[in-house]
C-alpha cells in the first residue's frame, strides 16, 4: 500500500509496481486477451501486457509523486485537515452574494430554453440538497429514502389538481405541509434507531412510497403517471389557447407564443424559494433548534442529559427536511408537466445524498455548489455519456481521499464577548 510517511525506497517502489502490474495483467487477461472473431476466438496476448506496463509505470509515478512536496500536501493533507473551522461572522462577502443573486434573477431573460431547463433542474437539486442537509448534515440521521418526500411533493401537486382542483400556488404550501407530516410519520418509528439501522428503515420507506404510487393505479395512475397542470400567473395561463375564457400570458402582453415563458416563471419562483430556503437554513443553524440538531448528531445521550427532548428534535429535523423536499417535488412536477413513479427511484436518493456528502455535511454553500456541479456536469459531458457514471464515481473516490469531509470545510460561527 501507499505508505506516505516512509522514506522513498527504490526497491520497495519497484516491488509494489511489479505486484500491481501482475494483478492488472491477470485482471485484463480474460477481458482484453481474447478476441471474438465470428465463431472463432483469437488471442490478443500483447494487449494485457501493454495495460500491465501502463499500470507498472503509473504505480512508480504515484510512489514518486507522493514523496514530493506537492504530493505530500495532496495525500497527507487529510491528517491535518480538521474539516471544521471556526470563523468570526463577517459581512465581507455580502456584495458578491448580491451579484450572484442578481445574475440568478436576470439569467432566464438571456438564456436559451435548453439551459433554462438545466438551470431549473439544478435548482431543484439545490433545494433537495438543502433539505437532506438538515436531516443528514445537521441532525446526523442517515436518510436513504429522501426521494419519498420529493415524490410526495410532486404527487400532491399532480393529484391535488386532479382531485381537489389545487393550482400551482396553493399546491406549494399544501405540498410543504403534507411532506412535513410524512416526515413526522417516518420519524416516529425510527426514533430509537441509529446509523445503519436507520438507513435501512428509511430506504424501506422510500421504496414503500414508490411502490404505493406504482401499484395504486386507481388513485395515482400507477406507472402511467399523472399529469401536472401548468402554473399560472395571476390567472394568466401559459398554454397556447386558454381554457374556459381565461387569457393566455402571451396574448395579454401581446407576445408571440413560446413555451419559454412558463419555464421563466418556474425558474424565477424556484430561484426565489431557493434563496429564501438558503437563508432559512443558514439562520436555523444558528438558532437553538439548529444547535440542538447538531448536538443530536454529536451525541444523543448527552443531549438527553441536558434536558433536550430528543424526540422533538428528531421529528423537527425530519419534518423540516421533508418540507423542503416536498417543495422541490412541486417544482419538479410543474416543470415536467407529467410525473410517474420511475422518477423517484433509489438512484435519485443516492444522488441527493452524494450532493450532501460531496458538498460537506452541514455546509450550505458546499451543498449548493455540489448540487449545481452534479447536475450541470452530466449535461456538459453528454458527448461522453458512456463514461458519465465512471467519471462520477471517480470524482467521488478522489473527493474521499482529498476532502473526506466535503468540498468546503464546515464553518462554525465564533461567539465573542460583548
Amino acid at each position: 500500500m501507499l505508505d506516505v510517511d516512509a522514506d522513498f525506497s527504490t526497491k520497495q517502489t519497484i516491488l509494489d509496481a511489479i505486484l500491481a502490474a501482475l494483478i492488472a495483467w491477470l485482471f485484463f487477461l480474460p477481458i482484453t486477451g481474447v478476441l471474438l472473431d465470428g465463431y472463432a476466438v483469437q488471442s490478443a496476448w500483447h494487449q494485457p501486457f501493454v495495460l500491465a506496463l501502463i499500470v507498472f509505470y503509473a504505480r512508480c509515478l504515484i510512489a514518486i509523486i507522493v514523496h514530493t512536496d506537492l504530493g505530500k500536501r495532496l495525500f497527507v493533507g487529510k491528517g491535518h485537515y480538521a474539516g471544521v473551522e471556526v470563523v468570526d461572522k463577517t459581512n465581507a462577502h455580502w456584495h458578491w452574494l448580491l451579484v450572484i443573486v442578481a445574475i440568478g434573477f436576470v439569467f432566464p431573460f438571456f438564456s436559451s430554453k435548453y439551459w433554462l431547463t438545466v438551470a431549473i433542474l439544478a435548482l431543484i437539486y439545490v433545494l433537495l440538497g438543502l433539505g437532506l442537509n438538515v436531516v443528514v448534515g445537521l441532525a446526523g440521521l442517515l436518510d436513504l429514502g429522501f426521494v419519498a418526500f420529493y415524490a410526495v411533493g410532486a404527487y400532491s401537486y399532480a393529484l391535488g389538481s386532479e382531485y381537489l382542483g389545487l393550482g400551482f400556488w396553493t399546491a406549494l404550501p399544501f405540498a410543504a405541509v403534507l411532506a412535513a407530516s410524512f416526515g413526522a410519520i417516518l420519524g416516529f418509528p425510527v426514533l430509537r434507531m441509529h446509523g445503519d439501522y436507520l438507513a435501512i428503515v428509511t430506504l424501506g420507506f422510500g421504496e414503500i412510497i414508490r411502490l404505493i404510487l406504482n401499484n395504486w393505479t386507481a388513485f395515482t395512475g400507477g406507472p402511467n403517471g399523472a399529469s401536472a397542470p401548468l402554473p399560472t400567473l395571476f390567472g394568466l395561463e401559459f398554454s397556447r389557447r386558454a381554457k374556459q375564457g381565461g387569457t393566455p400570458f402571451h396574448d395579454y402582453f401581446g407576445l408571440d407564443y413560446s413555451t419559454i415563458y412558463r419555464y421563466i416563471l418556474i425558474y424565477l419562483v424556484l430561484f426565489l424559494v431557493v434563496c429564501v430556503m438558503t437563508m432559512v437554513v443558514v439562520r436555523l443553524r444558528q438558532m437553538p433548534i439548529g444547535r440542538a440538531w447538531e448536538a443530536l448528531r454529536e451525541d444523543e445521550t448527552a443531549c438527553r442529559s441536558l434536558g433536550i427532548n430528543h424526540v422533538v428534535v428528531k421529528l423537527s429535523a425530519f419534518s423540516m427536511g421533508a418540507m423542503v423536499g416536498g417543495l422541490a417535488g412541486v417544482f419538479f412536477a410543474a416543470y415536467q408537466g407529467f410525473i410517474n413513479p420511475s422518477s423517484f427511484t433509489f438512484f435519485e436518493s443516492a444522488l441527493i445524498l452524494a450532493i450532501v456528502v460531496l458538498g460537506g455535511l452541514g455546509s450550505v454553500v458546499g451543498v449548493i455548489i455540489a448540487a449545481v456541479v452534479l447536475t450541470i456536469l452530466p449535461e456538459l459531458l453528454r458527448e461522453f455519456s458512456d463514461y458519465r457514471v465512471l467519471i462520477f464515481g471517480m470524482s467521488m473516490v478522489l473527493m474521499m481521499i482529498w476532502r473526506p469531509r466535503g468540498l468546503l470545510p464546515q464553518r462554525r460561527q465564533a461567539f465573542r464577548r460583548t
Binding site: V84, L284, P288, C303, R304, S305, N309
Partner: protein, 294 residues
C-alpha cells in the same frame, strides 16, 4: 434532604446490579459514592439521572417542599389500578409518551459522564449554549426574523456561558472545538455544561479520572466553589480517595450492589466493612451487622 433513594433495585436479566439501596442526599452538601470496581456506582447514577429504569424501589426528589417521584417521569409500566382511575391513567400515558431522562434534567438533576460526552465538533461555547436550550427563546419565527426578544435571549445565554467559562478558567477556549481541547479542559467543560442547565443537584461520574494530582486538587477546589457559592448539591463518584476524603460531607459505600456503609469521611476510613471490601479481607457478619445499625 434533596434526594432520597429508597430500596432501589436494578436487575439486568438475572444479574442483580443494585439490591435494596437506600440513602439520602442532603441539600447543599457534597455526597460521595465510592466502592470497588463493579460495585454498581454508575448503575445507581444512571438510575438517579433517569438513564436506566429501576426495577424496584423509589427515587424521590424534593423541590419547593414537594416530593417528586423521579421514576414516574420515565414512564412506569401500567398497573391494573390505572384502568379504574382515569386521571392516573392519563398521567401515566403522558409520561410514557413524553417522559424520559430529559425530564429528570429539567427537574434539576444534571450529570456528567465517565467517558466524556461533549459535542466534539462544536465549539466550547456552543456546547454551553446547547445546555441552555430550555431557557432560550425557541420560537422559530422570532428566530428567523431576529426579533428583539430572540436577540436578548441569545445575548443572555452568551453572557451566562462566558460567566461559566471564566469561572472554570476556560475563557480562552471559548471558540475552540470541544474535541480538540486538552483532556483536563474537556472534563471541566463537561461539568460547566451540566451547570448551564441550572440544576439543583449535579451528579459527577469520576470527574478526576485521568487527571494528575495538581489538576485533581484544582478540580476539588472547583467543586467546593460550586457547592459553596452556587448552592449546588453534589453527588460524586470518585476513585481518588484523597479528593473524596477532602471534599465530601458524607460518603456512601457500595459493594456488590448493596450499601455497606454510610457516614462522614473519618467514620468511613475506620469502618471495618469498608476496609474489608477494599482490601479484600474476610467480611465478618458482625462487621456487616454493625454498619447496618449505624
Amino acid at each position: 434532604m434533596l434526594l432520597e433513594v429508597k430500596q432501589l433495585a436494578m436487575r439486568f436479566g438475572g444479574v442483580v446490579a443494585l439490591d435494596n439501596v437506600s440513602f439520602g442526599v442532603e441539600a447543599h452538601k457534597i455526597t460521595s459514592l465510592i466502592g470497588p470496581n463493579g460495585a454498581g456506582k454508575t448503575t445507581l447514577f444512571n438510575c438517579v439521572t433517569g438513564f436506566y429504569q429501576a426495577s424496584a424501589g423509589e427515587i424521590v426528589f424534593y423541590q419547593n417542599n414537594q416530593a417528586i417521584d423521579v421514576l414516574e417521569l420515565l414512564g412506569k409500566p401500567f398497573i391494573w389500578q390505572d384502568f379504574v382511575n382515569p386521571r392516573q391513567l392519563l398521567r401515566r400515558l403522558f409520561f410514557k409518551m413524553l417522559g424520559g431522562s430529559h425530564r429528570v434534567n429539567r427537574l434539576g438533576i444534571a450529570r456528567t459522564f465517565q467517558n466524556i460526552r461533549l459535542f466534539r465538533d462544536m465549539t466550547a461555547i456552543e456546547n454551553l449554549l446547547v445546555a441552555q436550550h430550555q431557557y432560550l427563546n425557541r420560537n422559530i419565527l422570532s428566530g428567523l426574523l431576529h426579533s428583539k426578544g430572540y436577540q436578548k435571549s441569545e445575548q443572555q445565554a452568551l453572557e451566562q456561558a462566558y460567566y461559566w467559562l471564566d469561572l472554570s478558567g476556560l475563557g480562552d477556549d471559548a471558540n475552540k472545538l470541544a474535541g480538540q481541547l486538552p483532556y483536563g479542559h474537556q472534563k471541566r467543560l463537561e461539568i460547566i455544561r451540566a451547570m448551564c442547565t441550572q440544576p439543583q443537584l449535579i451528579c459527577l461520574d469520576e470527574p478526576a479520572a485521568g487527571l494528575n494530582p495538581n489538576e485533581t486538587a484544582e478540580l476539588g477546589e472547583f467543586i467546593r466553589i460550586l457547592q459553596q457559592q452556587h448552592q449546588i448539591t453534589v453527588l460524586l463518584i470518585e476513585h481518588d480517595m484523597q479528593m473524596v476524603m477532602d471534599i465530601s460531607d458524607k460518603i456512601v459505600v457500595l459493594d456488590h450492589g448493596e450499601v455497606i456503609a454510610t457516614g462522614g469521611p473519618e467514620a468511613i476510613q475506620k469502618n471495618p466493612a469498608v476496609l474489608a471490601a477494599y482490601l479484600g479481607e474476610e467480611t465478618t457478619d458482625k462487621a456487616k451487622a454493625e454498619t447496618n445499625n449505624d
